[in-house]
């Protein structure tokens, strides 16, 4: 506690950096995963290809991916872009499946009703399919957010500053207060992302708060 009281001014920039490095890939990953997941649902052959590829990408250990990113992107090893790109890869890998499964969970009769009402193509996707798959998407995003916060801290080993710096520095200089602050800050940040995604997800799906099944009685 005394460590935090003396050093909270140093913690805030690191926290901000961590939010940025873990949060931006969530947004980018979602934007990229939406069309990919849609394609996986649209074409029968695309599903196994996309799900397998994203599974393989998720297999690559985080430290290895951070280190290999400069080779792929042509950046310098200390560039935070490597971390954003690597985290985006992981997020896309997790979310492609969520998007595909979420779109697949839209009831066929709802889709048929929307078509009968004149919704077609992109408009039906944006107004009917996408909103109805928000609960599955939210679940996928929550998993991605918690794992992103943990993985970003590993980037302190390649010298990109964020909350992981408190972990490495606390360990290297054997400062318990700094190490504990780093761990607690990461857990709190993960919880914060989790709550934020849940709140946004609930706000986007007001119908889920009405009694389950109301209005869809046969």
């Amino acid at each position: 506690m005394t460590w935090l009281a003396d050093h909270w001014r140093d913690v805030f920039p690191l926290l901000g950096q961590h939010i940025w490095l873990a949060g931006l890939p969530l947004v980018l990953g979602l934007v990229i995963a939406l069309p990919l997941g849609w394609a996986a649902r649209r074409w029968r052959t695309a599903y196994p290809v996309l799900v397998t590829t994203s599974g393989l990408l998720y297999t690559i250990p985080s430290l290895a991916l951070f280190i290999l990113m400069p080779l792929v992107l042509g950046t310098r090893i200390l560039d935070p872009i490597n971390v954003v790109a690597a985290m985006t890869v992981y997020t896309v890998a997790l979310l492609v499946r969520s998007v595909a499964d979420g779109l697949g969970a839209v009831p066929e009769d709802v889709r048929a009703a929307a078509t009968a009402m004149g919704y077609r193509g992109l408009r039906r996707f944006l107004a009917v399919d996408l909103p109805l798959s928000v609960p599955v998407l939210t679940a996928g995003l929550r998993v991605a957010a918690v794992s992103n916060v943990s993985i970003v801290s590993v980037a302190s080993l390649i010298g990109v500053p964020q909350l992981g710096h408190l972990l490495t520095d606390g360990f290297n200089r054997a400062i318990n207060g700094e190490l504990i602050t780093g761990i607690v800050a990461c857990v709190v940040l993960a919880l914060g992302f989790d709550v934020l995604i849940r709140v946004v997800g609930a706000a986007l799906t007001p119908w889920t708060r009405v009694g389950a099944g109301a209005g869809v009685q046969p």
Binding site: L71, D109, L157
Partner: protein, 261 residues
Amino acid sequence: MIAAIWAWLTSPESWSGSDGIGARLLQHLGYSALVVAIAAAIGVPLGLWVGHTGRGKWLVSAANAARAVPTLGLLFALALWVGPFIPGKAAFLVPSVIALVLLAIPPILAGTYAGVEAVDPAARDAARGMGMRPAQVLWRVELPCALPLLWSGVRSAVLQVIATATIAAYIGLGGLGRFLIDGLAAGNYVQTAGGAVLVSALALVVDGVFALAQKVIVSPGLTGGGPAGSGRWGRPRVRREIVLAPGKPGEASGVVPTTSA
């Protein structure tokens, strides 16, 4: 740069010796196997117990919540707080192994529990009706039916352990992580990237082996593959999910079909 990395990966000098790629690869595999074996010995019985009895579900939620703890922090905390109490060379090994086991338990526990939870209640009832004792129901029905989810839990634990064992080189563990951590410390990008390629390849190959193993150990009665009647549980085709034809909600599940207009 890529040519230099390729040269490092393919030169005989990099592969030989006690700190060569060959030795480091075996170390990495050895640690990972040890850790997953310990974690499975804890996580599988615990998951079976929670799933079978329905008690202690908080264990699963607690294990899932614990995933928010950053792996790097867990490694460092154990190295700092447990390491000094362990004499000799084991002071580097034991904290890493404990941290890796703690990381590997949640996915195995959650997978096992979810697998048992998802067992068709009809299969459980049938087993009881045939006169099986609770232990037999668990061993001969619930465990085989839970295998697909149990195994995917083990797979994600294995991947996590291989990845985190790499990072554990920072607190003194051997294995392929040495190339990455020592390479970074020395500013030797060729060796660092070479190590990163090796770890990625190892993870991909091991995951592939586990995917193949899944096909062998999971009863064909569960996957719906293989000829009818070849499954250990008789005819695989009468599984509920298969009876439910896609695109016809309500009809096959016994619900009276809705009359349209």
